[in-house]
């Protein structure tokens, strides 16, 4: 089973999905991420899915699940780089990812987390 790497940049964890996601890898990613947030005390999680071309309802739910897990550790989640075809599929599946922030690309996603982080310190 392939594992998705989780990188730490400052107070942000970057999850860049470059593989075809199997249900097993999704579950492993959720576990790894929970461990990592708890051990690093990160304040934000960015999930880059610009390489993902096909999604199903299971992967769709993964975003919401990760967001809920992160929130328990007081970290914000941003999903970046979703492709039009993926967005259309998720809408047709009825998954609107309530509670998950989205951004067009990684740069904007980091900016959003930066703003949220500043708001937190104030």
């Amino acid at each position: 089973m392939e594992r998705v790497p989780i990188l730490k940049i400052g107070g942000v964890l970057l999850v860049s999905i470059q593989i075809d996601l199997q249900d097993q890898s999704v579950l492993a990613l959720q576990e790894d991420l929970a461990e990592k947030i708890s051990s690093t005390g990160a304040h934000g999680v960015v999930i880059d899915i610009s390489a993902v071309e096909i999604v199903d309802s299971f992967i769709g739910r993964m975003f919401a699940t990760i967001a809920s897990i992160s929130r328990l550790f007081d970290a914000d989640t941003v999903v970046v780089g979703m492709r039009p075809a993926v967005a259309i599929t998720l809408v047709e599946l009825g998954l609107t990812l309530g509670g998950v922030r989205t951004a067009l690309d990684l740069e904007r996603g980091m900016k959003i987390l930066g703003q949220l982080g500043r708001g937190r310190d104030a």
Binding site: P84, A87, I88, E92, T96, T102, L104, R108
Partner: protein
């Protein structure tokens, strides 16, 4: 079917009088079309047509799909297509063929020969069939044009334009059906990625009717854009449409709607942190 050999007399007559016949034929059609086609053009077309027609004299034209009709069919098709593009009516196109009949009658009416008369009648049937053929080709060519145009219309009426750095606009005009909304949705989402825009304004000032299905498609577009990290603003809802939307009980939820495109643009700019200031002129 009459054997072609039987019509020798008429064939000879036509061949002998070809020049004067074509000349009068062209004259008649030219006056019919009132100068919209030049004599030289018509003469070139008719000479070719006449040459292809001569070997067919004696054929009653009941089966225009037969191999010996191949040449005249393609000539007729070419002629009819050219007429469609030039904006002629079907009657004007077909009467080009029927005019020849009148000229042939004029040519033979003084001959006192029952056999020739019979041949002319058969020839007349042939020309009738060819005349009908022009109708057929005319209708087919026109159908093709209509199909091409409706495809172009679909492309043309859904432009996605960049009106500011990071702001796209989609002015929708005309009737929205599922197929069109689908095209708009895909084009808009693609454009968002290409230009990296965070705002899109869907302006429906030119839309005169909205039903539940169309609204559903619009909402889906907005949600899909949001999933990608962009914000959609719907602007230009007409008063009647606003009433319909409320009457139908369509919920726009937390989707931003603005009265005009200008309001929507101002809102998008403000969210982007751009401030517009009026400068004192002089």
């Amino acid at each position: 079917m009459t054997d072609a050999g039987d019509a020798q007399r008429l064939t000879e007559l036509l061949r002998a009088n070809a020049d004067s016949l074509i000349d009068r034929w062209v004259g008649e059609v030219a006056s019919l079309l009132r100068g919209r086609a030049t004599r030289t053009e018509l003469e070139a077309d008719f000479r070719e047509f006449f040459a292809a027609l001569l070997p067919l004299v004696g054929n009653d034209g009941k089966d225009t799909g037969a191999p010996e009709f191949a040449e005249i069919r393609s000539l007729t098709e070419e002629y009819s297509r050219a007429r469609v593009r030039a904006g002629f009516t079907p009657s004007e196109t077909a009467s080009s063929v029927f005019s020849l009949k009148r000229e042939v009658f004029a040519l033979t009416e003084n001959e006192n020969d029952p056999e020739l008369f019979r041949q002319v009648m058969v020839f007349s049937g042939l020309l009738d069939a060819l005349g009908l053929l022009t109708f057929e080709f005319y209708a087919r060519a026109r159908d093709e044009i209509i199909r091409e145009q409706s495809e172009q219309l679909l492309e043309l009426t859904t432009p996605v334009v960049k009106i500011w750095e990071g702001v796209l606009a989609v002015p929708l005009v005309g009737t929205l059906d599922s197929a069109r909304t689908q095209v708009v949705m895909e084009k808009l989402l693609e454009a968002l990625v290409e230009t990296g825009s965070e705002h899109a304004i869907i302006d429906i000032t030119g839309v005169f009717a909205v039903d539940t299905q169309v609204a559903q498609h619009l909402l889906k577009t907005v949600v899909a854009a949001r999933l990608m990290g962009a914000e959609c603003i719907v602007s230009g809802i007409r008063p009647q449409i606003a009433q319909t939307i409320v009457a139908l009980g369509i919920e726009f939820g937390d989707i931003m709607t603005k009265a005009s495109l200008a309001d929507a643009l101002r809102y998008a700019l403000r969210r982007d942190g751009v401030d517009l200031v009026h400068r004192e002129v002089r």
